[in-house]
Amino acid sequence: MSDVTFPDEVVTESRLRLVDIPSGTFGLISLDNGRDHTRPSTFGPQGLRSLQAAIDEAAATPGIVGIGVTGKPFIFAVGADLSAIGVVADSSIIEEFAKLGHDVFRRLGELSVPTFAFVNGAAMGGGLELALHCKYRTLDASAAGLSLPEVFLGLVPGWGGAWLLPHLIGPQRALDVIINNSMNQNKQLRPAQAAELGVVDVVFEPADFLEQSLAWADDVISGRTRIERPAADTESWDQVVAGYRAGVDARIHGATPAPYRALDLVAAAKTANRDDAFAAEDTALTDLVMGDDLRASLYSFDLVQRRAKKPVGVPDKELARPVTKVGIVGAGLMASQLAMLFARRLQVPVVMTDLDQERVDAGVGRVHADIDALAAKGRLSADKASRLKGLVSGSTDVAAFAGAEFILEAVFEDLSVKKEVFAAIEDVVSETCILATNTSSLSVTAMASDLRHPERVVGFHFFNPVAVMPLLEIARAEKTDDASVATAFAVGKELKKSCVLVADAPAFVVNRLLIRYLSEITRAVDEGSEFEVADRAMNPLGLPMSPFSLLQLVGMGVAAHTSASMHEAFPDRYYLSPNLQRMLDNGLNAVWVWNDDGTATLDPRVAEVYQRGDTALDEDQIRARALDALADEARRMLDEGVVAEAQDIDLCMILGAGWPFWLGGLTPLLDRTGTSERVTGQRFLAPGVASLPT
C-alpha cells in the first residue's frame, strides 16, 4: 500500500466493532478523528490506511454478513484533508493520494458481502463518495451538509463520485448535484431531497437512526427488503451533459477548468469501466491540484471560513455595549430591508423614521408584508411573525429613537442632510448610542465632525440586497472609539454578516474597486471601443456579471453619483464618463435591451446619445487596462491602510462583489497574471499563499 504522508494530518481513525444482528456478525466501522463536530472527520493518507485496515479486518472475519460505515456525532465524513493539499507541491504525492483513496473506497463496492453507509451527519465530497461506493445507504433525517462541493472548490468528485453518481441516479440528477449545486454557492442537499434523487435508499429519524439502520441492513441482508437499481438511461446521456456544458459556458466562459473536467468525467462515465473512470479521476484531480485556480480557491475558502469569522484588527469584543433598541433613519426600500434584518436577527424593537407619515406607513407596511410573506411560506410561525411585527414601528418624530442604542441612517447620499439627521438624533439619544451610516461613498469623519460625541459614529456599509449579501464593511472614522467599533462588530455578527474593518476612505473597499474598474470600461467605450467588445472583455475571468450588466444592477443614477464622488476624490484615476450623465439625462438606465431568447442588443436610444471616439481596443487590451487599474488601486488601498492586508481586499471582493474563488477574490489574480509586479513593482501575496508553491 502507498506510504505517502501528509504533514500534521488530523487522522480519522476507522474503528471496527463486530456487532450481532439477527442475520449474523456485522462489521460496524466508525469514522472518528477524535475531535468534536467543529473539526469534521477528513481523510489524509493515514486515515485512508486506517479505513483500509478496518475493511480488511471486517472482510476477513469468518461468517461476516455485512459491513457498515458510520461517523462520529453530526459528521459522517467530509472528504479529503484540504489543509494538507494546499501545501503539497509535488504532483506525484497528489496522484498517489488520489489513487490511494480510490483503492480503499472501491473495496466497499467490490466486496462480496453487502456494504452499507449509515450516513449519520454531514457527508461532503469524499465523505459522500465513500457512501456512494457502498452498496446501500441510509441517511439521518437531521443530517446537515450533503454535497459534492468539489467543483465549488476547484476540484472534481475524484474518489469515484463522477462515475458512481451518474450511474446511480442518472447523469441529469448527478450533474445537478456535481455542477449546479456546487456552482450555486455550494448548495447542500436536504435529506428528503437526497432520498428523492436516489442518492440514499432510505431516511431514518435521528432518535434511533443507527438502530433502525442496522435493522434495515438486516432486512436487506436477509432479503426481506430489496432495493432495485435500474441501469441509468444512456440514450440521452450525451445530450444531458452537453446541456450542462452549455450552461457552464454561458456562466463562466471557460474561466476555470474544474467544472469542465467534471463534465468530461461524467460524459466519459457513460461508457467507461470503473478502472478507466477512476484513473481518469486521478488524472483530473492531480491536474487540478497542481493548478493555481485550486490554490486560489483553497485560499478563498479559508478566507470565507476563517478570516470572515475572525475579522482582523477589531477591538476586544468585551468592549461592545448591549443593543436593545434600534433606530433606522429613513423608511424607503433600503431602510425597510434594513429594519427587517435588524428585527429578525436582533429581535429588539426597531423604529423607522421619515419625513412624513405616508412614507413611514409605507416603510413599516413593507416590513410587515415581508414578515407575512415569510410566515405564509412557513418559514416563521404565526407567533414569531406576530412578535417580529410588534417589534417594527415608525414615526415622523426622531424623539421615537429615545432609548435606542444603535441608529442606522439610510437617507439620501448628501453629506449635509446626513449631518443634520445625526445632529437631531444626538439630542434624543444617550451619548453612547451608536450612530451608524450606510453611506457608500461619503466621509464618515465629516459626518461626525460637528457632533458632540463623534466617537460613536461608524460606517456600516451593506450590500444590496441586504438580506442576501453576506458582506458588511465597518468603517472606523477619525474619532471613532474602540467601544463603538466593537459594538458595531457585535451587531454585525448578530446580523449574521461577515464584517471587515475598513478605514474611512472614499467608497471603502468593494465599491472603490468596482467603480475604478467600471470607469476603465466606460472610458474604453467612450474612446471608441465597441460596447459588445468592452462588455465581453472580462469574460475569461468568469465574473458573476459583465460590466454593463453590473452597471444596470447598480442603477445609472447611483453609478453616476458614486462615479462623480470618486472622481472628485481621485480625479486623476477615476474617469468620469460624460456619457453616463447623458444616459441619465435621457432616462436611460441600461445599455442593453434583452431579447426574448436571452441575447442582448444595444438599446438604439443609447446608441443615439452616447458619444464615442475612434480608438477601438480589443477585449485583451480592455481587460489589461481594467486589471492594471485594479492593481494600482488595490496597492494604494493597502498603502493608505484602508484595510489591514490584501486578504481583506480579497475577502471583500468574494463576499461583496461575488468574485470567484478561483481568482482568489482579486489579488491572487493580479499576482498570477503578473499584473501586480508590472504595475506596482511587487506582488500582493507571497508565492504559495494563493498559488502553487514554488
Partner: protein, 396 residues
C-alpha cells in the same frame, strides 16, 4: 365515567440490561427510555400517537439525564405529538410498577383510554443513594435501623430472621435463575421484547447492544460458594445471589379493554388488582408478602389461584422468604420461568415492567395458566403486587 373500565397490558418492551459502568456508560438514561417508547410505537402501528392520554416514567433518582420531568421530556424526545403529556414517578424499585398501577387506575376510572408506562435507571450515572439527604431524625429517634438504607444489609437481616433460609438455598436459587435465563435465551423467549441500543464511546466507536449483559450461564454452586460477602463478614449475601447494579429502561402500553379492541391493539393480559404494603425498612425484602396478601384478599382470591409468579430477584433470600411464606417450593416451575434479576440485573425503577413483560410471555408459554402475579420488594420497607389474568382469545 360511570363504571370501571377493565385495563389490559397491550405490549411491553425494554432495552437489553447492561452492567453499571459498562455498555451504557456513555449513553444517556433518557435516550434509553426514548428508544423503548419508539419501539412500542413501531410495534403497535394501529395506536395513533395522539390517542396516548399520558406517559408516566419512573426513576429512583430524578436529576440529570433522569430529571427535567423525564416523563414529559421523553414524550417530546420520542417524537410524540406535543399534545401528549407526561409525568415522572418514584417508588424506588417499584417505580415502573407504580407507573403501571397509577395509569391503570386512571384508565379504570375512565379518565384515560391509552397510556404509556415506563421506568429507567442508569445506575452508572446515578449510583444508589446519589444526592440523598436522610433526615437526622431517622437516627436520632431510631425511626429505622441504620442498616435500612443499605439493601445488601437488609438482605442479610432477612437471613437472620429466617435462619432456615440458608446461604446454600440462596445460592441454589441463584444457580437455577441463571439456568432458566440461559434456557429462555436459547429458546428465543426473551429476545423479542428487547430493543437494541446503539452505543458510542470515543475510544471504540459505535457498538450495538442486543442482549442482556448480566447473565452468567454455567454458574455453579461451587463458583458461588467462594464469593465474598461484602455486606457482612462471614455473611450470606454475595454478588452471586443478588441482582447486580444495572442500567436499563422498560416501557409498556396500557389501555382500556374497549379502546384496545376499538384500535385493534393486542391485549396480552388484563389487570385484576394491585396492592402496596409497608414492612419494617430493615427487612424490606419481605415486602411482597403483605402486598400479595392484600392484593389477593381485595380480589377475593387465594394464593392457590395463582398459576404464574414473576417476582423480582433483588436478592435470592427475599424470593425465598416469599416462597417460604406461601409454602411454595424453591424450585417451583411457576416461579420466574425465564429467570430473573439475579441473571439479567435490576435497574431499580425499571424492573417492574420487565416482570410484566415476562409474565405476558409466560401466559403465552403456559396456555392453561389463568392468573399470574408480578411482585417486588421496595427499599425503605415496602412490597408491591399486581395480579393479572389471561385474556382469552375470544375476548380480544
Amino acid at each position: 365515567m360511570s363504571s370501571l373500565q377493565p385495563v389490559v397490558f397491550v405490549d411491553g418492551a425494554r432495552t437489553p440490561f447492561a452492567r453499571a459502568g459498562s455498555l451504557y456508560a456513555h449513553t444517556r438514561a433518557d435516550d434509553l427510555m426514548v428508544k423503548v417508547i419508539r419501539e412500542l410505537m413501531r410495534r403497535n402501528p394501529s395506536l395513533p400517537p395522539e390517542r396516548i392520554d399520558d406517559i408516566a416514567v419512573a426513576a429512583a433518582t430524578q436529576t440529570g439525564d433522569q430529571g427535567m420531568n423525564i416523563g414529559r421530556s421523553v414524550a417530546l424526545l420520542s417524537g410524540l405529538p406535543s399534545t401528549v403529556p407526561g409525568y415522572s414517578i418514584d417508588r424506588w424499585c417499584a417505580g415502573a410498577m407504580t407507573a403501571v398501577t397509577t395509569l391503570s387506575a386512571s384508565i379504570m376510572a375512565g379518565a384515560y383510554d391509552v397510556a404509556i408506562a415506563g421506568g429507567v435507571e442508569h445506575m452508572t450515572h446515578h449510583p444508589m443513594g446519589e444526592g440523598i439527604d436522610p433526615n437526622p431524625r431517622y437516627l436520632a429517634e431510631k425511626l429505622v435501623d441504620p442498616e435500612a438504607l443499605l439493601m445488601g444489609k437488609t438482605a442479610e437481616n432477612l437471613h437472620d430472621r429466617f435462619p432456615h433460609l440458608t446461604k446454600e438455598r440462596a445460592d441454589a436459587y441463584a444457580v437455577a435463575s441463571q439456568e432458566k435465563t440461559a434456557k429462555a435465551y436459547a429458546n428465543g423467549l426473551l429476545q423479542p421484547d428487547l430493543v437494541p441500543v446503539a452505543t458510542r464511546d470515543a475510544e471504540n466507536g459505535w457498538g450495538y447492544v442486543t442482549t442482556d449483559e448480566g447473565p452468567r450461564p454455567g454458574t455453579s454452586m461451587e463458583g458461588l460458594a467462594g464469593l465474598k460477602t461484602p455486606f457482612r463478614p462471614h455473611g450470606r449475601v454475595t454478588a452471586g445471589n443478588a441482582s447486580a447494579l444495572t442500567d436499563g429502561a422498560t416501557g409498556a402500553v396500557l389501555a382500556s379493554e374497549g379502546v384496545a379492541r376499538e384500535l385493534g391493539l393486542s391485549a396480552k393480559m388484563r389487570m385484576v388488582g394491585f396492592a402496596f404494603a409497608g414492612v419494617e425498612p430493615e427487612v424490606m425484602g419481605v415486602g411482597p408478602v403483605p402486598s400479595t396478601e392484600k392484593a389477593l384478599q381485595r380480589a377475593g382470591m387465594t394464593i392457590a389461584d395463582i398459576d404464574l409468579f414473576e417476582i423480582n430477584e433483588a436478592f435470592a433470600v427475599q424470593v425465598l422468604a416469599f416462597l417460604d411464606h406461601f409454602d411454595i417450593a424453591d424450585d417451583d416451575p411457576r416461579v420466574n420461568p425465564m429467570g430473573g434479576a439475579i441473571a439479567v440485573g435490576h435497574p431499580l425503577a425499571s424492573s417492574g415492567i420487565r416482570l410484566m413483560t415476562n409474565l405476558a410471555r409466560d401466559f403465552e408459554a403456559n396456555p392453561d395458566a389463568r392468573y399470574g402475579i408480578t411482585t417486588m420488594c421496595i427499599g425503605l420497607g415496602m412490597g408491591g403486587t399486581v395480579i393479572w389474568e389471561r385474556v382469552e382469545e375470544d375476548a380480544k
